[in-house]
Every structure is written in C-alpha cells, then in structure tokens.
Symmetry: C2
Subunit: 395 residues, 2 copies
C-alpha cells in the first residue's frame, strides 16, 4: 500500500557474481541441441551464436527489462509448456552448470527477471492454464505463467476477485507475484500472499518437483514449506503452479481522490478513513506533487481537482451494498473537509472515472521512467517516517 | 471455522519415542541444582524425587491436559521470566540430552503441551508482558506467554481486536496459538496467522535466539523464516515473542442462531451469507443436534429456538456501522426463511444474548468431554464432504 516501487538488486547481483565466476560455464550449440530433446523445438528460441535460427531482435524483449535499465545478452530463451519440461531444463542446466534466469511477465523494476550476462532465460509465459476453480470456496489452482489480469477476469465471471492487484496486472504473472511477494493495491483489504496462497508447485534447481498444491484454507500437516518460496525471488526454485484463495467480488466500488496540504494530513486522513470506512476500505494510496506533475505530463489524464496540492490521496472502498458504502464514504469526506485535514476531494461518478483515477496512481512508475533515469525502491517503512525517505534521497 | 476440535498426536508420539529411547536421559537432582543457576529459585518447581520441595500435587496441572486424557510424570516445571532464561534452559537440556516439553496455557486437546514421560515442563506462563503497541498501525509485540483474552482486552481499550479468537481464550497463550497455527472463530474475517503474524522471537533447541520480531506489515528481506515456526508445534524451537497485526475493532457486532433441516442447507446458507453479508461476515459456525444436546445438558443455557433442528448455524457480523449491518443481516434472514433454506432463526438483541449464543458454540468441547471419553479431531476438509466425517467415524 505504501510502497513506492521495487528495488531488489540481491538476486541480480548474486547472479552477476556467479555468471562471472568459474562455477558456471557458457552455453554452446551442443547444449541447445540437447535442450531441444527436453522441450519441443518451438519452445526454444536460440540465436545463430549457439546454433539457432532466431534473430537477436527476437530475444530483445527477454534480455531487457521494462524500464530499459537492465540489459542481458542471453542467446537462448526456453518457453516450456509443462512442469515436467521445466524440471527437465533445470536438471540439465544444473548438471551442466549453466546459469538460468526464470522470467515471468518481465514487469519487474529491479532486474530480477532479466539476464545479467548470458544466462538461459526460462520464460514461464506458455505455462498459462487454469488448472481448476471451485466456485463454492473460491479456490483457484493455476499455472505460474497465467497473467494476473486474465485470472482476475476469469474469477470475476464467477463473482470472485484476485486478492492482489497492481499496475502491471496486464502483463505480470501470478508466479512472479508470488516469487516477489507482491503487495499491491489490495493489500489493505485482502492482506499478504502469505495468507492467501494456499499451495505451490515448485521445481527445485536439481529438477525435483515439490508438489504442495493444497486447496484447503487451512492445512496444518507438517511444516508450511511453501511459505519459504513466497518472496524468495526464484533463488530456491521455480514456481510452476499456484493455489490461491479468491474472495467474493465486491458488488460496489467507490473511488475518491483528495488534495492534502501535508504528509501529516495524509497520515491523519488514513486514521480517519480506517475508522469511518472500516471493513469496506480496500485501498489507500498517496503520491506527491512531483509524481502528479510527471503523470499529467506523460499521460492523457486531466487533473482530478481544481487546484494543486502538495499531496494526493486515493481512497477506494469495495463492499456488498452500494448505498451503505456511499454513505460511509460521503460521511468520511465531509469530516475530512470540515476538519481541514483535506482541502479538496473528488468522488468518481462512474466506472470510467474510477479507471481514470486509478490510472493516475498506476501511471506513476511509467511516467517517471519517461522523465529520465530513475532509481526504484520497494521499501517497507513505518508510516510516520515513510515520507522522510524522499527528502533523504533527494539530498 | 469448520474445524471440530484438535488432534495432533504427532509431537506427542515423537516425544514418547524419544523419551523411551536411549537418546535422552532422565533428569536428576544434580540437574535441578544446575538449572537453579540458570533461572531464579522461584522459577523452579521440583519434587522431592529430584531434590526439590514441591508437592507432586503442585505439578498436577502441568502433568495433565485439560480433558484429563493425557498424563505425564514430570518431576520438574520451569517457569522462566525472560527469553535469556528460556535460552539457558534449552542450551543446558540440549547439551545434557534431557527432554523438554514447552507448555503454554495447556488448553490443547491432543496432548501436545503435556509430558508423555518425565520431560522437563517449560512453562511460558511467566513470560507474559506486552512489549510494545503502536496504536496508529495496530501492531502488537508481546511475550509468548500472554493470555489471548488479556491481549484482546488490552487492544480493545485501544480500539483494536486480536485477529483470532477461540473458546480457550481465557487461558490459552498467544505463543501456543502461533505454535499450533490456531484458526479459531475469526478466521473467516481476519484470515490465517501466516498473514497476521509479522514476526517471531524463537529460541532454538541449542539455545540460539532467533530474533525475527519485525513490526512491518510487509517485510521482504530474505526468506520468511518465521513462517516455518507457525504450526510447527514446538518441534523447531520455543516461541518466546510475537509481533502481530491487530485490526481496528468493529463497533457493531450482531449474532444470529439458525435452525437448519440438513447439511445441504448449512452449505446453501453459507453461500447466501457470504453473498449478502460480504465484508461484515466475521463467523459462520455450525453444529448438529447431538452437540446441541450435550451443551444444553451440561451448561446453564436455554435453547435459542422454539423447536429442535438437525443442524444449527451461528452467524456473526462485525462492522463499523450498526444500522448498515442490521439491514444486511435482517435481509439475509428474511431470504433464508422465505426460501426455506433455514426453518427458524433468532437474532441476539444485546451483548449478553450475543455472549450466550457464543457460549453454546464454545461450550461444545467441554460438554462432550463431560459426556464421556471423546476423540478430538482438528481436521480441514473440503466443505461438501465435511459432515460425512461424522457418519464415517460413527461407523
């Protein structure tokens, strides 16, 4: 909820050290031939340098991250369609000391999903089937390469909602979300993936498949090993399947954007919002004037308020009764304006206004990327001192 | 929510095997002397058999479980007041190959917290201080021996609520709740301890203190090792401190008890309740006519409905606006009665009626215990086949 963006250079730097060391060797055309016996020919994308026919341009999207900040020089991308193929690839590469980087939707901002050298890119994008869905319990079991938004649409048709959502939803994979322990904008309402992920299927580096795909809301048999993979960033194994609890979809959604004079006001408004909106509060996001400037400068969006403010807050409620939620949110806004905690506010009148208000928040990373070189930080910091980081870094 | 009672003979049976093996030795009066150098004299309760002055009767409560089903013959109970003392005890007993059983509130129903032989009982009951509480974020850090109900009262005074609740709340310890991954009656609303526990302090068997007491809602630094201890039942270490997120306390609570003609009806009513009450639904419990008979036979409680039914359901809503919640619950009840899914219903009119309705549900384990010898099962089973267990076991 209050994270700014991701930084996690750990796995990239470890891989860089490893690929530069003598522990690993460079892949050759002989390896490509042997890999073609493990996965079907169409699953292998190899350049002429390693005996393939692919143009280097075809590998561009796999070698570069979304912000154009990290760049690898992999000559081979593998796109397996089954867990068994993933296991075969990892077993071979482990035996042969060939570096592998697992890649989901490649929407990460910290280079965790792109090669730092010539690692084999193991793309999960063709491992993208829903395996089962139980409408009574809302429990979804799917391949790791399913795109988050497609899953959300799938469960929406069945009156449920994915317990997480983030700006990259149109491309990011559920496997990557789990591997990075993504928080996202529904965290406030549906909590951590440590609570909502019920089971995982993971291929360990030596090719062993760990099948832990429980579909029980509570499973106390043995140690909860799957938890270790949540947030492990691919360092312990490659997630190939996910079992996740999806809550019932709220039938009413409201969104408001507020203009706030200070960071102290952002905090006070948060306290009042939690109190007044209680169980229907589903998101509370803030950004400052410079983020707003970047977004309005790079996206076709109109300023939601009549004047500029040092801070902006987006509040979302999601509930089962529109009239009740309207009353709660309107009461809160009156309170916030009367007490001067907030100086202006705008309530979305329909679904397209809701989308535009969210685009503003979600467009920040991309807009900043277009503004110039940016460092991205995904930091969790106690709320009272959170915004101090901006001043500290600016120094 | 749908668990019946606990059974987890794993740790007891492992301990039984270990205490009977030559891997462990029996504690002597020399050990007691040395333990008295590790913890203050008043923290040691030892019988004459091992050089102490305590009467065997004083150890009764530590040697017997709550239902009188499991019985040990420990001669020493240690009641440390600090994590350092716990570490000293474990280091000594590990070096000396003396068996230890950690004990919280001793409210378990499966013998996990009582000795099976002559193990040293390590009682956490004097490790019972709140360490810190942040009212803005609702994050509580406390000793493992704090009683759940006392913590709930503590946070209630600060407008928050513990994310779990169970019948044994008056005696059970938060450390034991975490060690057994207790679900309890608020699971439906606040989810799993894997999501709400933010950090743990654990003493490993060799006395190493693992300090993982994060107070961040999301902490992605390294692997989430604390998760392994949640539900590990004391087999990996002794939990001495807990950091846990407490939600804002709902200002409105409603409870209803329904009479339902069949288990199919219990399931249909669950679906409708989730749909109509959505975000304010905080508990959905059911029991059958024989449980009702046992409770009414052993507790001073009146039948809540005018007639007998094969199944009873308790619904609780907890929200931030009483009028809104009343409307949602009344609408649901009308629907359930009109469609015949439910044949009768009673809505609690005040706090004391709410308490009485809950006593009915919470009194089941104790009443069954008084009825005769009972086996307890804490099982997680898919909802459609859950009640089949009762028939299968009866056979």
């Amino acid at each position: 909820m209050l994270a700014l963006a991701r930084t996690r250079i750990f796995s990239a730097s470890v891989r860089r050290a490893a690929t530069q060391s003598r522990l690993l060797r460079t892949l050759t055309s002989a390896d490509v031939e042997r890999l073609q016996a493990i996965v079907p020919a169409e699953a292998v994308l190899a350049t002429a340098a390693v005996g393939g026919t692919a143009d280097a341009a075809e590998l561009e999207g796999f070698n570069n991250d979304w912000l154009g900040k990290y760049r690898g020089r992999s000559q081979v991308v593998l796109r397996p369609k089954t867990t068994a193929e993933v296991a075969g690839i990892l077993r071979y590469c482990n035996d042969e000391r060939i570096a592998v980087v697992p890649q989901g939707g490649n929407t990460g901002l910290v280079g965790g999903g792109v090669p730092v050298g010539d690692e084999v890119v193991l793309s999960l994008r063709n491992l993208n089937k829903v395996r089962s869905y139980d409408e009574a319990s809302g429990i979804l079991v799917c391949d790791a390469g399913c795109v988050l938004e497609e899953l959300d649409n799938f469960v929406a048709e069945r009156s449920h909602v994915m317990p997480l959502d983030l700006g990259a939803k149109g491309s990011c994979h559920i496997g990557g979300n789990v591997a990075t322990n993504a928080g996202g904008i529904r965290f406030l309402r549906y909590g951590s993936l440590h609570g909502s992920v019920l089971g995982l299927e993971v291929v360990l580096p030596d090719g062993t498949v760990l099948d832990n795909l429980s579909t029980l809301r509570k499973d106390n048999t043995g140690y909860d090993l799957k938890q270790l993979f949540i947030g492990s960033e691919g360092t312990l194994g490659v997630i190939t399947g996910v079992s996740i609890a999806t809550p019932r979809r709220p039938s009413a959604v409201n969104v408001a954007v507020l203009g706030v004079p200070s960071y102290a006001g952002v905090q006070r408004a948060f306290g009042l919002t939690r109190q007044r909106c209680g169980e229907v509060l589903s998101a509370y996001e803030f950004w400052d004037a410079s983020c707003m400037g970047a977004v309005l400068g790079h996206q076709a969006l109109k300023h939601p308020l009549a004047a500029e403010y040092p801070f902006y807050v987006l509040i979302e409620t999601s509930g089962s009764n529109k009239a009740h939620d309207d009353e709660k949110l309107e009461g809160l806004l009156e309170d916030l304006l009367e007490t001067g905690v907030v100086e202006d506010g705008s309530l979305a009148q329909d679904a397209s206004q809701i989308r535009r208000m969210w685009s503003m928040r979600e467009g920040i990373p991309e807009s900043l990327g277009k503004t110039g070189a940016t460092y991205k930080y995904d930091i969790s910091i106690p709320i009272p001192v959170l915004y101090d980081v901006v001043g500290d870094i600016a120094q």
